[in-house]
């Protein structure tokens, strides 16, 4: 624990360097303004203090020139700060191509991490130094906020939606991670550590913590939920082919074109009617309440890696999921059974490590 108080948090990412540059500008501007105002008020209060009760004062109504000066000059400075702030913001919100991808799920009150290699962590995030890392985050319940002061990075983590942030750590170390959006009784304890490692150490850590890749887990889920019954590689299947789908534009029945990104895939699993691909019927049942956020991430990770011929063969003979209404009533009927996944897919224990 960092018991020692420091005025500024560590500067440990490329973002932090940019934000601190902006901070320096802001400090310079605001401290100068505050000093000038304070000195003027103090000087006037002393210089023009009332010396006798019958004192006379001049009638000064104002000056258009002066008003214009102290309107336009601060406006100009404000514009510079705005542009600089916007520049840094664009750097923060736009992940570079080729970043290492990590997934995170926030819930009351912990952070669950999934690496592409299948490594899972709770309230810890191991990343390599000197390599951009892109986080895809979602929440299982209320709004949380992922905040690493040393990286000057923060993003609100919303339920039923994927948000992204990224950073490139610049020095190895262990940095605190906070939830900065009030989320209930345990909010203050929803903290963790970001462990920044040398690339070699990170590779070693990945090897030790691996339990089979995330995509492999997603492949198992694809079979478990019988997705391939309809989404087979056959062009005449009941559902669209999933191979090489990620990152391509998709035409919908209403004529719109959307990008098949993580959010699109997620919505198509949970709310299939919302965006139906042109040429297909709206027959897919919803998986809302049957598949949890971590399984979704694994499934989407597999979809992202699917190349031609990667669709697994059907291995079971059970009836595929049928139309929406029927499934909805079924899942209402036996909700507890459908909510708990089989043992081998069960995520790491969610009990508090302590």
């Amino acid at each position: 624990m960092n018991a020692d108080f420091t005025l500024f948090p560590d500067q440990a990412s490329t973002t932090a360097e940019r934000v601190d540059g902006l901070l320096a500008l802001l400090l310079l501007v605001t401290v100068s303004f505050a000093t000038v105002i304070a000195m003027l008020v103090f000087y006037f209060a002393v210089r023009y203090r009332r010396r006798s009760v019958t004192e006379w004062t001049p009638r000064i109504m104002g000056s258009l020139k002066l008003e214009l000066a102290w309107t336009l000059f601060p406006a100009g400075i404000a514009l510079v700060i705005f542009l600089w702030g916007a520049k840094v913001y664009f750097y923060i919100v736009k992940p570079p191509a080729g970043a290492e991808e990590v997934y995170m799920v926030g819930k009351q009150w912990m952070w669950k991490v999934q690496h592409r290699g299948g490594q899972r962590e709770i309230n810890e995030l191991h990343i390599p130094v000197g390599k951009p890392v892109k986080l895809t985050l979602t929440s299982e319940d209320v709004i949380h906020s992922f905040f690493v002061p040393a990286f000057r990075t923060k993003v609100d983590v919303l339920p039923n939606r994927y948000v992204h942030t990224w950073f490139e750590a610049t020095k190895p170390g262990i940095y605190p991670l906070f939830c900065s959006q009030y989320c209930g009784t345990g909010h203050a304890d929803m903290t963790g550590w970001v462990v920044v490692m040398e690339p070699a150490d990170f590779q070693r850590w990945l090897g030790e913590a691996s339990e089979g890749s995330l995509a492999l887990e997603g492949r198992k889920l694809l079979l478990k939920y019988q997705c391939v019954s309809c989404h087979s590689a056959d062009a005449h299947a009941r559902g669209p082919v999933l191979e090489r789908l990620y990152g391509t534009p998709v035409t919908l029945t209403d004529g719109r074109t959307v990008m098949a990104d993580e959010s699109y895939l997620r919505q198509s699993i949970l709310d299939p009617d919302a965006q139906v691909v042109a040429g297909f019927q709206s027959i897919m049942p919803t998986y809302e309440g049957q598949i949890d956020e971590e399984e979704l991430i694994a499934l989407i990770e597999f979809l992202k890696t699917m190349q031609t011929g990667a669709t697994p063969e059907r291995v079971d003979t059970a009836r595929p999921p049928t139309a929406r209404r029927e499934t909805a009533t079924n899942s209402n009927g036996d909700a507890p059974a459908s909510l708990s996944p089989p043992g081998e897919n069960k995520p790491q224990s969610e009990d508090d490590p302590e």
Binding site: V41, E67, A86, D156
Partner: protein, 471 residues
Amino acid sequence: MSASTTELGQSQPPPSAPPQENYLTAGYGWRSWLLTTDHKRIALLYLISITAMFALGGIAATIVRLELVTPPSDLVQPATYNKLFTMHGVIMVWFFLVPSIPTVMGNFVLPMMLGARDLAFPKLNLASWYLFIAGGAVTLWALVSGGVDTGWTFYTPYSTESSTTNVVPVAVGIFISGFSSILTGLNFVVTTHRMRAPGLTWFRLPLFVWSLYATSIILLLATPVLAMTLLLVAVERLTGYGIFDPMLGGDPLLFQHLFWFYSHPAVYIMILPGMGVVSEIITCFSRKNIYGYAFIAFASMMIALIGFLVWGHHMFVAGQSVYAALVFSLLSYLVAIPSAIKVFNWTATLYRGSISLDSPMLYTLGFIALFTIGGLTGLFLAALGMDVHVHDTYFVIAHFHFIMVGGMVMAYMAALHYWWPKMSGRLYPDGWARLVAIQAADPDSSCSTSRATSPRADASRRRRAKWCKAT
């Protein structure tokens, strides 16, 4: 302060006052107070009510600060702590800061400044006070009988789906008191338009009237949005109809948009009247006319107008569009300019004046210093790249409290001292008043939130509490 207020409520006429009748001697029975339509008496009813609320909000804050003296939870448990900071926020925002200067000083002096006998709708004015009391009673009952732990911002889906506390009763209380705000705003707007004395044209109005007018417009236009939002939260909680909860098909960001569409203009409800007070007092105690009258008047109106267009700066990291964030950032800088204009004009008013540092003036100069710090820290928050880091941290809390405590509470105290002789017929002990004013301007005491664990802040708060009691 509270000691003086109670004293005023009980002992009626100043003994040394001449035998002529005034609003304090017009009647002595409780009916003459509770059924009065006299704007001055209603102002005193408000003064007593909001002073009580200020004390309750202050007690909640004190327990929060005491708990934070040590890192582990020892004085109160986390659940209680969360209810306490919510109570502090709810009471201070809706039952002290929003009504403070408009309902007490506005009610008292607005008709006099306009040369009117009373407000346009005296009965409505009394009804506003009863709505305030009703809303306050419901809210206090809800806070005492279990409390609420959502924070004063009621963010969804926590408030609709996760929290098991009294969210709906508190929302109902705020909903009711909102109508008090709306009716007060309506009353002030109509009075300013229709009841000015002959010859009192717009650009002869005292600047306090301008600031109340700008405030009233916001009260009138923004408060209904809050009422609507809280109603929707209550509907979702009670019926499970999906509005904000994504699990029910709602959108949690919709709540934030609606909430801040009220709550950002609301911070101008809370600071504009204070700016009006400063414009009055700084001229009085420097024996000067105000520098740049028209610019200050227009600045108030610009703040009221642009204040409606900047709510998205509360959501820079919340997941709104990057381009929306750009626009909101630019507009936030635009709304900062009128505040800067005011500060420059106040400073210029002091030039070649005959400055007397009586207690209202000390509070006013304290306002300028602390409000300037509050305003300048806003530049950090409006800068997109910087906000990502400082958003949701003590930096924001400190910025807000510099404006609200360093600004509005200082202005409220200044106004209370300034108009106290007019209201009560007596002068407070000036030596003590100056001493309190000087130490209140110490940022450590008036804005101790920014010093999370500073023992000095606590010591100075204790000091202040003692002095407040002494006066």
